[in-house]
């Protein structure tokens, strides 16, 4: 399959590298030193228990890629409005686009410009990041889920699932991908907000009953927004998610990591989105409002002094 990966960072680089290794025609769209290194030395993927280098096309100019069968859209959400339009030349009559991003608004943003029927919302669970230019380090094996918004086992979705599975990626085809996105969003928006503002990882922070309560209250707010929008979220989501987070080993979510390092953060796609969608549908979100205001000054990163 002819595949373009928009954003070859932790998520895109890992998926793109695995798909290239299993024989697909993959083009990575990347930038800067990372791009230079991939062009010169190939893309190196370090997985739990294995590592490999794969030769893969890489460019910073989508116009060089031409039409593809599948686009994986894996940039940070704050880049969406700059890059979505640049994908138009890659769209053929049957091109599918899977979004693997945080938040719940990306598929709509892409749909507006690239055609809503071409978009398959996806979710990604793993921990992977650019370790050094050209090198992706995957701490936990990638697991993905995606599907058609209108709940059909389309031929294209089945075909795409096959190429992911053939590449060794644990893949689930979801009949209700928006619910999957929201389940992740309810947890992550709350977690990203409180861990960043507390500058403390979940494992330590959630030992404090006061902080656990804030985390749960923030999840309840996002859950209420989702339910008001008609998303089929389970009523036990907050309790289930708390247990899920408690069961994970110590980790740092990407927004906390970005905030701590002074890089731009996905605040708009996290608390910002909870607030915006809550306002649209008349649900109050006080905790997310506070977290958003506290984190807003550093949203675009902190310039190095």
């Amino acid at each position: 399959m002819r595949i373009a990966v928009m954003g070859a960072g932790g998520v895109g680089g890992c998926l793109g590298g695995l798909l290239a290794k299993s024989g697909n025609d993959v083009s990575l769209i990347a930038r800067g030193e990372h791009l230079e290194s991939i062009r010169e030395n190939g893309l190196k993927i370090i997985r739990p228990g294995s590592e490999f280098i794969v030769e893969v096309d890489a460019t910073d100019n989508p116009l060089e890629v031409d039409q593809v069968d599948l686009i994986l859209f894996t940039v940070k959400t704050f880049q969406n409005r700059h890059v979505i339009t640049s994908l138009k030349p890659l769209m053929g009559p049957n091109t599918s686009v899977i979004t693997f991003q945080n938040g719940v608004e990306s598929h709509e943003q892409l749909g507006t410009i690239l055609g809503p029927n071409n978009i398959l919302p996806g979710a990604y669970w793993a921990s992977s990041h650019i370790n050094s230019p050209g090198v992706i380090l995957e701490d936990v094996g990638a697991r993905i889920s995606f599907g058609e918004i209108d709940d059909t086992d389309s031929l294209r979705a089945l075909e795409i699932r096959k190429i992911f599975r053939d590449a060794g990626i644990e893949t689930e085809l979801s009949p209700d991908p928006l619910t999957v996105l929201w389940e992740k969003f309810v947890v992550l928006s709350a977690l990203a907000g409180i861990t960043s503002a507390a500058q403390t990882r979940a494992k330590e922070l959630l030992q404090f009953p006061d902080a656990r309560k804030m985390f749960c209250d923030a999840m309840e707010e996002a859950l209420a927004v989702g339910l008001a929008k008609g998303i089929g979220l389970p009523a036990t989501l907050v309790q289930d998610s708390l247990e899920y987070i408690d069961g994970l080993p110590d980790f740092q979510n990407s927004m906390h990591s970005d905030y701590e390092s002074g890089r731009p953060t996905e605040l708009e796609a996290m608390s910002g989105s909870v607030i915006r969608l809550g306002k649209q549908i008349g649900v109050q979100t006080p905790i997310h409002n506070y977290l958003y205001s506290i984190l807003l000054p550093h949203k675009d990163g902190v310039s190095e002094e």
Binding site: A198, D210, A211, M214, I287, Y290, Y292, S293, P297
Partner: protein, 308 residues
């Protein structure tokens, strides 16, 4: 008059130093390197108008001091639990205690241990810090404080203390509503420190963002409501005054708790932020923003010195 200063940090050092300089019988109760330096070289005070050195008694053992007429309690609030019991040898029938600390709970804590009639709550208004062991830096030319009897009486002892302070060059105000002074300082101090610590900006820098400005206003309202419900009415004028105080701060001026946070030292989180939520729960006032700030800062409460 015989005076003991419990906690000869920046505040205790500056006020204790001024009283000793005036010739009063002052003993500083301190610890560690700071104590050793004072014992060896006297207390050095760097004042905007110049430096002075005072040969003042200093010890870490209050039983060496014996009963005094006045104790100034100026330890960090999280040291109260240790410091208040240590004061026992200093106390006799007529000993008075002035608390010069952040928060509003210290007078009650001292009162519980030694009787509420001893306690004159106080507030220090003085920018100062410890420069190095034995050296305190007073950043404002005049050392100001407000104190008074909890019941508002202009008692003989209060008037005497006021006279003593004035003669030592301390700009002291004898208040008839001292709890209002304590709450007024907390009204400002809680949002300034809590929001600055959470946002990792100085109070003024965060205030200059529209969203930060709105959060300051919400925070001031929460503290004012708790103060009002617990018997000290603070209203819109007080909130406007506090907003103005933040607006006038220098852009790079940090709150005391923020300085401690950045240095990895223990925080006065309970006295400055936690107290508002705790008291709010007793008087049925919701404090969602204070509760959030408290929860966010809890992991840093005991400091990070000695961490990896």
């Amino acid at each position: 008059m015989k005076i003991a200063v419990m906690g000869a940090g920046a505040i205790g050092g500056c006020f204790g130093g001024l009283l000793a300089k005036r010739g009063l019988d002052v003993t500083l109760v301190a610890r560690g390197d700071h104590l050793h330096a004072i014992q060896q070289k006297g207390l050095q005070v760097i004042h905007p108008d110049g430096k002075y050195s005072i040969d003042v008694k200093a010890t870490d053992d209050p039983s060496e001091v014996g009963p005094v007429d006045l104790i100034i309690l100026s330890v960090k609030t999280y040291q109260n639990e240790q410091a208040i019991p240590m004061m026992k040898p200093l106390i006799e029938r007529d000993s008075a205690v002035i608390t010069l600390q952040n928060g509003i709970e210290s007078p009650a804590e001292v009162g519980q241990a030694y009787g509420p009639e001893r306690v004159l709550p106080g507030v220090a208004y003085l920018l100062c810090n410890i420069d190095s062991p034995g050296v305190v830096r007073q950043r404002a030319p005049v050392a100001r404080m407000t104190f008074g009897e909890a019941n508002g009486n202009q008692s003989v002892r209060a008037i005497e203390l006021h006279d003593t302070f004035s003669k030592a060059g301390i700009e002291a105000d004898l208040s008839e509503d001292i709890m209002r002074s304590l709450w007024s300082k907390l009204l400002y101090n809680t949002p300034a420190n809590g929001l600055a610590c959470a946002s990792r900006l100085t109070p003024r820098a965060f205030f200059d963002y529209p969203e930060g400005n709105a959060l300051f206003h919400t925070a001031f309202q929460e503290v004012a409501k708790v103060a009002t419900a617990s018997g000290t009415p603070l209203g819109d004028l007080d909130i406007q005054g506090a907003m103005k105080l933040v607006a006038q701060r220098p852009l790079d001026g940090r709150g005391s708790m923020q300085t401690d946070l950045e240095a990895g030292r223990p925080l006065e989180l309970e006295a400055i932020v936690g107290a508002v939520g705790r008291i709010g729960r007793k008087v049925n006032v919701a404090t969602p923003l204070m509760d959030l700030l408290y929860a966010l800062l809890l992991p840093h409460k005991n400091g990070h010195q000695g961490d990896d």
